[in-house]
Amino acid sequence: MSDKTIISIQNVSKTFVMGDVKVPVLHSVNLEIHEGDFVVIVGPSGSGKSTLLNLIGGLDRPTSGEIWFDSPDQKISGFSDSELTAYRREHVGFVFQFYNLVPTLTATENVQVASELSHEGMPPEEALNLVGLEHRVEHFPSQMSGGEQQRVAIARAIAKNPRVLLCDEPTGALDLSTGRSILGVLHRLNQELGKTVILITHNSAIAEMGTLCVHIGSGTIASKESNPHPVSPEEISW
């Protein structure tokens, strides 16, 4: 963990417009994330966590407010579509609840899809090693368990060597022990490679493993706590 701010969220609001109906989802969210942080964002379902993560990941733009990456260098909230694509390509890795692997590609090939996008990318085998999947590389998603699929998805996310890993309920579809091991992988990537991890969950037990814990409720940040003594994933249970 360093003192260098990697993501700065300033007064961000997001309102979805569906026809005539406006759905306000985020109101004046402020958040500073430092390089090497393990941020856990906790909140009930529908509170706007994914929306916030999508904004950070450059999948969407805020209605108002600013988001800076490596601030004050890049104001991603003001990026054009192609700038956002380049940003996603270079700096962020996504991990989703349902893994979102390409079913017709093997583990290695799924990772390759991402690794070949980046010049600093690592060989798919290396990424799969990092997540502890060296022996199932030729399997298709349908031949793997949920935990294994999520490991492939994490390998895919880190294969580009991004600075930030954005994980949207990565354990949401997994049982306790598998979930724990996935969290263990993310923890190790954070500790050993110094990746900034932002993980969202509706499960407050997971919050204890973060260096920064953000509670979100109906579109606003209810509380933020730094946690100088995060617990290791093995000790978490739900």
Binding site: S50, T51, N54, G57, L59, D60, D81, S82, T85, A86, R88, R89, E90, F94, F96, F98, N100, V102, T104, L105, E109, N110, Q112, V113, A114, E116, L117, R156, K160, D168
Partner: protein, 793 residues
């Protein structure tokens, strides 16, 4: 290989059944395009090469007799580039071992080979030599059919004498690419010979010293396209020598048939591929939409990972592109082979070319691939734009559940409730996927239209043949004399062995004029109540023959702009300046466009003959030995100049046409079937994959796979029925248009709709729809019910 390309290949392979269906429809379209276009170029090129090699004439003028020196006047006419006089006479051939006299034409050629107009191409033997004066060259097709070789002798009856000639060679000429002798429609090379003899010999035989009766010529470039003016001037110059016909190249019989075949190819080359490629594009459109829909999250994920829109777009375009390339390559190859087979085995039978060009045209093959690619990309377009529109954040969100909208039929509760669950399921399926249902209807209607048009053309051709030979021309034989003869000739013929019934006829070639309009026609003089040539209208009813005046066909009356009661000028071709005024006594709405009839006695009177006859039609006893005796006697009657037989023509026509049509009919059924089969299979497989969960539930509830399959079948049959209802009138309309456009001044094609054709169309359409359910049923049987129930979305 890039992982995305690997994904592409695996997904293409997985969907191979559906893709095979689309690819074969595309390939069919390209096959027709490449096949017809190659045939077009093969014929076009062959014709061009042949015409320039033989120096094909731009015009032919036939006169009674004129001194060759007088032709010099033609040089004064601007636009005439070159010309050649020649002597042409009809002859009959006495072939040993052949019962009937065979007709033919004799033509004069220079003693020495030279690059003359309407030259010949030697096939066997040689050109004339100095050794004998009675040397003859005959046309190669006739020689082949009749087993005649250089060195053989042949006996021709000309000028009422039998003459022996020595064959030195066989040849072909661009004038006779398509040889129809004696007014037939199909070439009958065995029964029509073309004979070339030395000019000096022709002059002696026909008493035409330094004279000719035909001029063939070439026009200067600007006049070629608009030859009418020049030809008018030529006609006026040669008027004193009794011009009987001025024929521009356009109306030359061989050229006319060859050109209409080439023109027909041009129409077909657009219509058929158009139908197939449009259907394929629409099916592909649906398949791609479905694919992109299924890969929503993959698209979103790829975008989230950092793939640009362009990269993703290209990835999905590759689907359509691959299909297009496969269909294009397959279709181009097959199309080329099709053209080759047609050229070698069909066209070479109909058209006599010394060399029928048969080659691949890189431009055509490439165009085939390109249009296939184009239609495929077009078909992928909607799916691809959907990919573009999808925002990554949106794609990640679970898809909103399909609106469980009630369909309009459900508003009639009573009616709806009375339907079985299966029918309700089918009807919902149809109305929920409007686009797909419309595509199914479209494909079915195109398949229907295609079948209907071909069947209607078949019916109409058959009707035309039938009409021609059972209503208009019902003779067994028609005998033509060189010059008009007295009534005695008729009586003599009637007494010949085997003759059952005979009728005298008088054909007078003439010009009919009304105000400033004129037309060269032949007036046919018949006896009242004639039974072998009958003036019938389109209804098939006999039109009474007026005792005074002419009975004109409707088309001819239109050309001359006359009505019943009008007086027109009548000028016999072989007698200049002998104009007579005759009344139009009737107009007959006939399929034969340019016919004119008169009572034989009346016709005799206006040309100042007395009971003259120049043609006799007859029915013979149906006994081969008696008939053979009749023909043998006929062969020994030198005054007979031509013998034709409507009965024989009919047989020949039926054999050729029926074979041809059966082949094209079966091809059409196969290809139309492909449209039905492909579109039904495709849409029901998609429907199946979309409703897996729904039908898995039904299965668990106790429905058998057979019952489930029946719901899909019902859905396809309903769409098929609507498609049939739309396609039938479309096909009928198109068939009618084609009949009208294929008709000419000489004949119109009757348009008939036989119930049998409608029935065949319905049976074929429904049959292929049923067939497409075999693979669907298998998919249902093989379905993994458990995983279908546990889909997460």
């Amino acid at each position: 290989m890039k992982p995305l390309n690997r994904k592409l290949l695996r997904e293409l392979f997985r969907a191979k059944g559906m893709l095979a269906a689309i690819i074969s429809i595309i390939a069919a379209g390209v096959l027709f395009f490449v096949g017809m276009a190659s045939l077009y170029y093969n014929l076009e090129t062959s014709r061009r090469l042949y015409y320039s090699k033989c120096r094909m004439a731009d015009f032919t003028v036939t006169v009674k007799k004129m001194p060759v020196v007088e032709l010099e006047q033609l040089h004064e006419i601007k636009g005439v580039s070159e010309f050649r006089p020649r002597i042409l006479f009809p002859v009959t051939v006495d072939l040993p071992g052949v019962e009937r006299p065979v007709s033919g034409q004799i033509l004069s050629l220079p003693e020495e080979p030279a690059p003359i107009i309407n030259n010949i191409v030697i096939r066997k033997g040689s050109y004339f030599t100095d050794s004998l004066s009675s040397e003859i060259i005959l046309n190669d097709t006739f020689a082949t059919e009749r087993d005649l070789e250089p060195g053989d002798q042949i006996e021709l009856i000309l000028n009422e004498r039998k003459e022996v000639f020595h064959i030195v060679g066989t040849a072909l000429s661009s004038e006779y690419v398509y040889v129809v002798g004696g007014g037939g429609i199909v070439p009958d090379p065995a029964n029509f010979g073309i004979f070339y003899i030395k000019e000096s010999l022709a002059e002696d035989l026909f008493n035409y010293q330094e004279a000719a009766n035909q001029v063939v010529g070439i026009l200067e470039e600007p006049s070629r396209k608009q030859p009418d003016d020049v030809l008018d001037r030529i006609e006026r110059k040669l008027e004193p020598y009794g011009v009987s016909a001025v024929t521009p190249l356009e109306d030359q019989s061989s050229h006319f048939f060859l050109s209409s075949e080439i023109e027909n190819l041009k129409t077909v080359v657009i219509i058929l591929p158009g139908i197939f490629l449009t259907v394929a594009a629409i099916i592909l459109n649906i398949l791609m939409l479905r694919l992109v829909e299924q890969q929503r999250t993959i698209v979103g994920t790829l975008k989230a990972i950092g793939y640009t829109n362009r990269e993703i777009l290209i990835h999905y375009l590759k689907f359509g592109g691959t299909i297009g390339l496969c269909g294009g390559a397959l279709g181009s190859t097959l199309g080329y082979l099709f053209a080759e087979v047609m050229t070698k085995h069909v066209y070479s039978k109909f058209f006599a070319f010394p060399k029928l060009v048969n080659q691949p045209y890189p431009g055509v093959l490439l165009t085939g691939v390109v249009i296939s690619l184009l239609f495929s990309l077009l078909g992928s377009m909607r799916g691809v734009t959907k990919v573009m529109a999808l925002s990554p954040a949106e794609a990640m969100r679970p898809k909103p559940p399909v609106r469980g909208r009630r369909i309009w039929l459900e508003k009639w509760t009573g009616l709806w409730k009375s339907l079985t669950l299966q029918t309700q399921f089918s009807l919902r399926g149809i109305s929920r996927n409007r686009m797909r249902s419309l595509a199914g209807i479209f494909a079915a209607s195109m398949g229907t239209m295609l079948l209907m048009v071909v069947l209607l053309m078949y019916d109409s051709m058959e009707e035309m043949m039938d009409f021609q030979f059972t209503k208009i021309l019902v003779n067994d034989f028609e005998i033509g004399f060189k010059d008009p003869r007295g009534y005695g000739a008729f009586l003599e013929t009637k007494r010949m062995p085997g003759v059952d019934y005979a009728e005298p006829m008088l054909h007078i070639a003439c010009t009919l004029q009304h105000e400033h309009r004129e037309k060269k026609v032949t007036v046919t003089g018949l006896i009242p109540g004639s039974r072998l040539t009958i003036p019938v209208n389109t209804e098939g009813d006999r039109e009474p023959l007026p005792t005074v005046g002419l009975l004109l066909s409707k088309r001819l009356a239109e050309i001359l702009d006359v009505g019943v009661g009008d007086q027109i000028w009548f000028e016999p071709t072989d007698r200049e300046e002998e104009l007579k005024k005759v009344p139009v006594a009737g107009i007959i709405n006939s399929y034969l466009g340019l016919s004119a009839y008169a009572d034989i006695d009346y016709l005799n009177r206006i040309v100042d003959y007395e009971d003259a006859v120049n043609s006799i039609q007859l029915k013979t006893v149906r006994d081969p030995t008696v008939e053979a005796e009749f023909l043998r006697q006929l062969k020994n009657t030198p005054v007979v100049q031509s013998v034709s037989s409507a009965r024989h023509d009919r047989q020949l026509l039926e054999e050729t046409m029926t074979g041809q049509l059966m082949i094209s009919l079966s091809i059409t059924i196969v290809f139309a079937g492909m449209i039905f089969f492909g579109s039904v299979l495709n849409s029901s497989l998609i429907s199946l994959s979309e409703r897996e969960q729904e039908i898995a539930t039904l299965h668990v509830l106790g429905y058998t796979t057979r019952e489930i399959a029946r719901m899909f079948l019902q859905e396809s049959l309903i769409l098929n029925l609507v498609g049939l209802l739309v396609g039938l009138p479309l096909g009928i309309g198109l068939g009618w248009l084609m009949c009208v456009s294929m008709g000419t001044d000489l004949f119109r094609i009757p348009f008939v709709i036989k119930p049998g054709s409608i029935l065949i169309t319905i049976v074929v359409g429904t049959g292929f729809t049923l067939l497409a359910h075999v693979p669907l049923k298998r998919s249902i049987d093989r379905m993994d019910w458990v995983s279908a129930l546990n889909v997460k979305e």
